[in-house]
């Protein structure tokens, strides 16, 4: 139960990578202080949907779960301590709090964030059936064979209608079921834009702080929020299965743009070599084209377009897996900001956006402001006011509204 985290030596060598962010982060923390004090307990969203727990009013939204009467901050800090001590049950519980976006999670993350940032966060995405879970299982096996623990966050979509989700990725990771140093967590997307990114990055930070040097973040490469999640990892791997037809799924889904590495799975199938060659051909642009593309991207404030590497693997036999892991490790080992810094800055931006959005929403839904917001909505619905003016007014009012 209280097996200590993985060996500290494996972690210390990557510590340097996050130092450049830590200053910016402590600023952000200070800035969040007053807002965080607002524990909007009146805003439970648990009504309506049938799958919501009857206990959600206590454990989820208000953060008043459990028997402890301590404030969420205290309980969060306690949870963080247990996580740092290597307690897996507490880690699992913290991940639930993170998914539920509770104040307990927030408090815990305040403790854990400064000690995270060491792990290599690897996003894995691709069309359904491309072989993502099988690839992750094989990668986890390769990581384990180097003596390191591995964590997997497998994200599956929630039903937009019922809010339920069927999380089946563990099926393909059964070989690790008996291994306590492979931590697999299934997460439902819960369908909110931005929130998924926030929750998964927070969850990855928790796993990172718990001592997992590699965190695989697996999402279906369909739907924007899922792709976004994979793309804000340190390294994004796009998975493609050889197809019977000519169509490369990843292109159709627009995934190649976010790829650092493209992996063609099922390398023993006929057509795998051809798919890989096709992808390589497509991804090799002329030098002048590339310079032009970079210039245009930079002009629009975007990230530099990537020149992904294409690799071929056969997960069941392990062919190509060691090479893929070596490529991942190499990328993570590169200390120069050029390799990982853009991804980390993009992630920071996504996190900040998400948290600001969440906080704004929380305050808007605070019962005390309800009548004013409702009035605004009515006016908009009746076309008495346009949405832009309405937003300006709400934002102006928010400054006057008390935070807590």
């Amino acid at each position: 139960m209280t097996r200590a985290g993985p060996d500290p030596a494996a972690q210390s060598d990557v510590r340097g990578a996050q130092s450049d962010l830590s200053a910016a982060q402590s600023d952000a923390e200070a800035a969040q202080g007053p807002i965080a004090a607002s524990d909007a307990s009146g805003s439970s969203g648990s009504t309506g949907s049938s799958g919501a727990s009857p206990t959600s009013g206590t454990s989820g939204a208000s953060g008043a779960s459990g028997t402890s009467g301590a404030p969420p901050g205290g309980r969060g800090a306690h949870l963080a301590e247990r996580v740092l001590a290597g307690d897996r049950r507490s880690l699992a519980r913290l991940l639930t709090e993170i998914e539920d976006r509770t104040s307990v999670a927030e408090a815990a993350l305040r403790t854990l964030y400064p000690v995270s940032g060491r792990a290599h966060l690897v996003g894995i995405t691709g069309a359904p059936g491309a072989g993502k879970s099988t690839l992750v299982a094989a990668l986890a096996r390769a990581v384990r064979s180097t003596g390191r623990p591995a964590a997997v966050l497998a994200i599956d979509p929630s039903s937009p209608i019922t809010g339920g989700a069927l999380l089946g990725d563990r099926i393909r990771m059964q070989e690790h079921a008996g291994d306590r140093d492979v931590f697999i967590r299934s997460m439902a997307s819960r369908g909110h834009a931005g929130g998924l990114a926030a929750a998964s990055v927070d969850a990855a930070a928790a796993l990172d702080a718990a001592g997992f040097p590699v965190v695989f973040l697996e999402t279906v490469g369909a739907g924007q929020s899922e792709v976004e999640v994979a793309s804000i990892a340190d390294t994004t791997v796009v998975v493609e299965a050889p197809e019977m037809g000519d169509e490369v799924q990843a292109i159709k889904a627009g995934l190649l743009e976010v790829a650092d590495i493209v992996v063609v799975t099922k390398g023993d199938r006929p057509g795998a070599q051809r798919t890989a060659a096709q992808l390589r051909g497509m991804l090799t642009v002329g030098a002048s084209d590339e310079a032009e593309a970079v210039r245009r991207a930079e002009a629009r404030g975007r990230r530099r377009p990537k020149r992904p590497q294409v690799m071929l693997v056969t997960a069941p036999t392990g062919d190509g897996i060691a090479e893929l892991l070596a490529a991942l490790d190499r990328r993570h080992g590169e200390r120069d900001a050029a390799a990982l810094r853009p991804a980390r800055l993009a992630r920071a931006a996504a996190q900040l956006d998400a948290v600001i959005a969440e906080r704004l929403h929380a305050r808007l839904r605070d019962g005390r402001h309800g009548p004013a917001v409702d009035e605004m909505l009515r006016a908009m619905a009746d076309h008495e006011i346009d949405p832009y003016a309405a937003a300006d007014r709400v934002l102006a009012q928010l400054e006057e509204w008390p935070a807590g």
Partner: protein
């Protein structure tokens, strides 16, 4: 429609057609026109007064059922091409010329309990009661390649069938049963080559020559990946084992049925009749292709292929399914694989009534369900039949309930008058139409599987699994919504009665079985065993047929778990990859 309008239509349509018109049209065309007329008049009036029970009537496979069938519905039917005569291509009307006028179907009740001794007692009892063939159910450790003393076996030994870990167990199971006269069907798949090796060795110890041994191994690994779940090795080496059995039996066991290509478990997992039909035939195609790739001549092995279907209560659709299966398989074998021997073209099949149709509530109702299902199998021309016992939704059958299940078959055979002429429903407008419709629906699935690269590739892509899960879920929802009625469950519910006595497994049996397998290991000649096991490994790693090596190992005292482990070491284990 207003009464006036209806009257108008009536007068218009019933105006007598001129003589020349009548002469220009065939009787079938006329039947279609007359049906239209009937729809607009007689039927329309009736429906206006009393609407039909449902908007639409459909079969389990979603095939719409018409308000009436007429000769025009089967106008395209060509007797020579589509039906033939009993015992003749395309065998729609049955694989034997005389069908049950010559010999009744084999009444084969599946049984296997707790231990080899107990099962042997049950077998002898069933043979005395008039059963004509044996059918062995194995426990899960035996099906999964674990000896009774393996860690995985704990709590599972003897639960769903008999545990067989060594030749000693097999000899106990078959003790006192003349293997040259009784045919034995073994429901075994991933470990089929090993159990066949045990059986051959036991027969040899009885002094029965290989040529006289008859029976069946299920040996259908593809449906394990699709529906039943008891696979061990990855699909490709598993297919090699299947063809090893084909090849060995073609040379050594001429009376052995090398495979029972099974739709039953897919149906039990939720497939519709059309899916059951299509996915079974697709598997059959994959096996024939594999054997041909091995270099076997189709007419040397195809005559030993057999099938296994489920029978549900929807009588007509089931009969149509069996008829369509025979017709489709005959065409596939002749036209696609070039089989010339009529026996290679015959879809011979075993049928079991639908276990998943049985209810735990009001279990007497299950006898009625089973009777209907058995009737469907008989009207569909089955070669052998297992009828489920009424208490199988609760536990393994008691001796009493198993006897009643057998009596059900005997009543059908001897009292119902359904055996006196082959394919008695042939020519029924409805049944012939439904046979065509099922064939069409199944062919559409076969085409999709073909486009995916065949049954094996489709399984790897999860195609069949997903189709079946979809159907299972739809049915569950339909039952819960009351759209599908299950008597005694969601309608016509009886007061609960105390549960009847059920078959209990003596927990002591597991210990005795574990002891026996350990004794076998302790008492064998270690050197002969070691040599034989080495042979198993080299055969598996190379191209050599594994059957002779397995039989040698069995004689050398090797256990099922040891042989399975040797193969695992070479081929690895399969993990399911398809999500819900």
């Amino acid at each position: 429609m207003t009464p006036e309008a209806r009257a108008g239509v009536e007068t218009g349509a019933s105006a007598p057609a001129s003589e020349s018109e009548r002469l220009g049209r065939s009787a079938t065309e006329r039947s279609l026109e007359e049906r239209e007329h009937w729809r607009e008049t007689t039927r329309a009036r009736a429906v206006a007064e009393h609407p039909e029970r449902r908007e639409m009537f459909v079969t389990s496979s979603g095939i719409p059922i018409a308000d009436v069938y007429v000769p025009g519905d089967i106008a395209a039917l060509d007797e020579d091409r589509d039906l033939g005569r009993p015992g003749e291509y395309p065998f729609t009307r049955g694989v034997q010329p005389t069908m049950y006028r010559g010999r009744l179907w084999t009444m084969r009740q599946y049984a296997g309990f707790a231990s080899a001794e107990q099962t042997n007692r049950r077998f002898r009892y069933l043979l005395e009661q008039g059963q004509t063939g044996l059918s062995v159910a194995f426990d899960l450790p035996t099906q999964m390649g674990y000896d009774s003393d393996a860690a995985w076996a704990e709590g599972e030994v003897g639960r769903v069938g008999v545990p067989i870990s060594s030749l000693a167990d097999m000899e106990l199971l078959l003790g006192g049963i003349p293997l040259d006269r009784v045919s034995t069907s073994m429901t075994i798949n991933a470990t089929a080559p090993i159990l066949l090796a045990f059986y051959v060795a036991a027969a040899e110890r009885q002094g029965v020559p290989r040529a006289a041994v008859s029976g069946t191994v299920q040996n259908d690994i593809l449906k394990e990946y699709i529906a039943r779940g008891t696979y061990i090795y990855p699909p490709r080496p598993s297919m090699r084992l299947v063809t090893d059995v084909f090849e060995f039996c073609a040379a050594e066991l001429p009376k052995w049925n090398t495979i029972s290509i099974s739709g039953y478990h897919m149906r039990e997992a939720g497939a519709t009749a059309a899916q059951e039909l299509a996915f079974t035939l697709a598997d059959g195609i994959a096996y024939v292709e594999a054997a041909q790739r091995r270099g076997l001549d189709v007419d040397r092995f195809a005559g030993r292929l057999s099938f296994f279907f489920a029978a549900w209560s929807e009588l007509f659709e089931e009969v149509a399914k069996f008829r369509a299966a025979r017709r489709m398989w005959a065409r596939i074998m002749r036209d696609r694989f070039g089989a010339r021997n009529p026996r290679s073209q015959m879809c011979r099949f075993h049928t079991q009534t639908a276990g998943s149709s049985l209810t735990a509530q009001a279990i007497e109702n299950n006898v009625v369900r089973t009777t209907l299902q058995a009737l469907a199998a008989v009207l569909g021309g089955t070669q052998s039949l297992h009828t489920n016992a009424r208490d199988e939704a609760l536990a393994l059958p008691t001796e009493e309930s198993a006897r009643l299940a057998l009596r059900t078959q005997q009543i059908l055979a001897h009292e119902a008058g359904v055996t006196e002429t082959p394919d008695p429903l042939a020519g029924s407008y409805f049944v012939e139409s439904l046979t065509d419709e099922l064939e069409r629906a199944a062919q559409a699935y076969l085409d999709e599987i073909g486009a995916l690269g065949g049954a094996l590739a489709a399984i790897e892509a999860g195609y069949q699994q997903r189709q079946i899960q979809e159907s299972a879920y739809r049915r569950q929802r339909a039952v819960e919504a009351g759209e599908e009625i299950v008597v005694g469950v969601n309608r016509f519910v009886d007061e609960p009665v105390p549960a009847p006595p059920i078959q209990r497994i003596d927990p002591g049996e597991e210990g005795r079985q574990v002891e026996r397998v350990r004794r076998v290991r302790a008492e064998r000649d270690a050197r002969a065993w070691g040599r034989a096991m080495e042979h198993v490994r080299t055969a598996a790693a190379g191209d050599e047929n594994v059957m002779p090596a397995l039989i040698e190992a069995v004689h050398g005292g090797a256990t099922l778990g040891e042989m399975s482990d040797a193969l695992r070491a070479v081929w690895g284990e399969h993990r399911e990859s398809v999500t819900v």
